[in-house]
Amino acid sequence: MGNKIVVPFGSQHIALPEPVSFLFDTKNEIITNVKVDVGYVHRGIEKAAITKFEFTNVSYLLTRICGFCSITHAGGYHHGIEKLLDVEAPKRAEYIRLIITELDRIHSHLLANAHVAEVAGYENLFMQGVKDREIVMDLLENITGNRIQYDIYTIGGVRRDISKETAEYIKKQLLKLKDKVLKVYDFYDTDYTFGLKTKGISYISLDDAKKYNVVGPIARASGLATDARAEFDYLPYDEVGFEIQTRTEGDVWARNIVRQMEVIHSIDLILRAIDNLPEGDIKVKYKGRPKGETFVRVEAPRGECFYYLKGNGTKVLERVRVRVPTYSNIPILKELFVGEKYSDAQPIVLSFDPCMSCTAR
């Protein structure tokens, strides 16, 4: 009867740093239908990567697909192009890549979790979460020279080395961070009101997760142990002892907890990587032009990121295809709203931590 209220959520909305729009039909604030538009950020990067940019500098473009996981895109691209050029990065470079990748994951997860808290109306938890995140950001800025766009990958290695002192510093800071993160973890884990707002909201069963090919922490929160770090060999994760973190609750809360667990695991990984940091060059020279095709899967903070590269022996590639984690999580996200309350829509959206910038490229 006469009780429908259509509520727009996005593209500009304070809870959404990115343009994406949801249009909810609500009855008494219960969502009955939803329309999603994910195309706001489309810039045409795939096209530019095969016309405007040469294979040597296309990675600067590709890393700017996304600020959260610029390192993932750099990784996806460089691992592929190295395969096409047939060069192998030295071990030390691989370890440095791993360290930066995991640092990036830590900052991304911390922010994502904090953001869920923020939109759940829990301002202080947001502040406590992002407060600690600054430690990682400072580390990243120290190592790479920028807080967001690290541009550390280069074909055949990395552009900057980690010196002895820096390594020590990283270790010290990370140990400090670990304590703090454990404290924040505890808040997420035990906070009563936060639980009220997140537990049981937007439940995804293991079966659904598989049917919809959900990836990343969202899948792992439903008990689906999928992680490109374990399913694809691109960085020496086996050597530092990577383990997949899962929960089985499958709701907003579990997603946060999985991220928090991964943060702690990532800290461990980095600490181990620094301890085992091999000596040697950080870069090798390469020759030739990319030719042939390759498939790459790397694990972004939000899940598996897929790259397809095809070269034809010229300076410009023939096809670059990026399939990012959010891209494969949107279909299930769309299904989750019906029956939930509008006041829970923001935590649901942000528990997916959606990145439109990479979904639409």
Binding site: A120, G121, Y122, N124, K341, S343
Partner: protein
């Protein structure tokens, strides 16, 4: 005399309270926070904004909200009946709700509807609180309460706790800031106001601080030091609560008010009446 002065300067005092609150909140979040005078800076800035509006009706309701809020405070401080003051507050809510509903913006309308849910949660409790004052003091007159020689707080501990938990509903604080819900409906009723019209709402909220804390003060009876302590305690408590809870759904708020708070207050009143 004091009450006249208090009434007249309520917006200023409220502004300071709000300023302190912003600092306290920032500190609780390990931030530095804005300067104390920040609310007034905001006030002056808004004053100087070029006014835009959706339509006059809506803009007018913003101003009416401010006036009604002030008037409710005047009735509380200058009148003699607490109960009437409680009901005068409804006029302010009316202006807010009608104004917010008068624009075709779903956020604003949702905010208005949620504001109604606020009202259903706190209104009966406020009535109960006033009645419990009557039981203790034997009068609805605010002056009698302020001259009461005992310690109302000792007679009304549960009512005070219930009231303490109602303040977040009145002042739009987490966990019950559902009508404002910045991350959901971006301020709810206030979203469509801007410039000087928003100013009216912004300042109205300050007055509401005074209005609410006056009630907290009354729990001290004629012992003004006790009243002051209670006010400070209430202030700190709601800010701590604000900073340590997520926003709950309005359904939970209504349920909480009706299942926990009202029976609690009623129990106190019954015990008091029987003894």
């Amino acid at each position: 005399m004091i009450s006249v002065i208090l009434t007249i300067f309520a917006p200023i005092l409220g502004g300071f309270v709000y300023g302190i609150e912003r600092i306290v909140r920032a500190r609780m979040q390990s931030r530095m926070g804005p300067p104390l005078m920040q609310p007034f800076y905001d006030f002056f800035k808004l004053m100087d904004k070029r006014p835009i509006m959706i339509h006059s009706f809506h803009a007018l309701m913003g101003i009416m909200y401010f006036i009604a809020e002030w008037f409710a405070l005047a009735v509380l401080l200058l009148g003699n009946d607490l109960l009437i003051a409680v009901f005068f507050h409804v006029i302010a809510v009316l202006a807010l709700v009608i104004g917010a509903s008068s624009v075709r913006s779903s956020y604003s309308v949702l905010g208005a509807l949620r504001e109604l849910m606020h009202m259903i949660s706190y209104e009966p409790l406020m009535v109960l609180m006033v009645v419990s004052f009557y039981l203790v003091v034997g009068s609805f007159d605010i002056k009698d309460v302020l001259h009461y020689n005992g310690y109302p707080i000792l007679d009304l501990p549960l009512v005070f706790i219930a009231f303490l938990l109602t303040i977040p509903m009145l002042l739009q604080k987490s966990p019950f800031d559902v009508a404002e819900a910045h991350q959901e409906i971006i301020g709810g009723p206030e979203i469509e106001y801007s410039g000087p019209f928003y100013e009216a709402l912004y300042t109205g909220k300050w007055i509401e601080y005074i209005y609410v804390f006056t009630f907290a003060f009354l729990f001290g009876g004629s012992h003004y030091w006790l009243g002051a302590i209670l006010v400070i305690f209430a202030f700190l408590f709601i800010n701590l609560l604000d900073n340590s809870t997520a926003r709950l759904d309005f359904r939970r708020m209504v349920k909480f008010a009706w299942i926990v708070l009202i029976p609690m207050a009623a129990l106190n009143v019954i015990l008091l009446a029987l003894i």
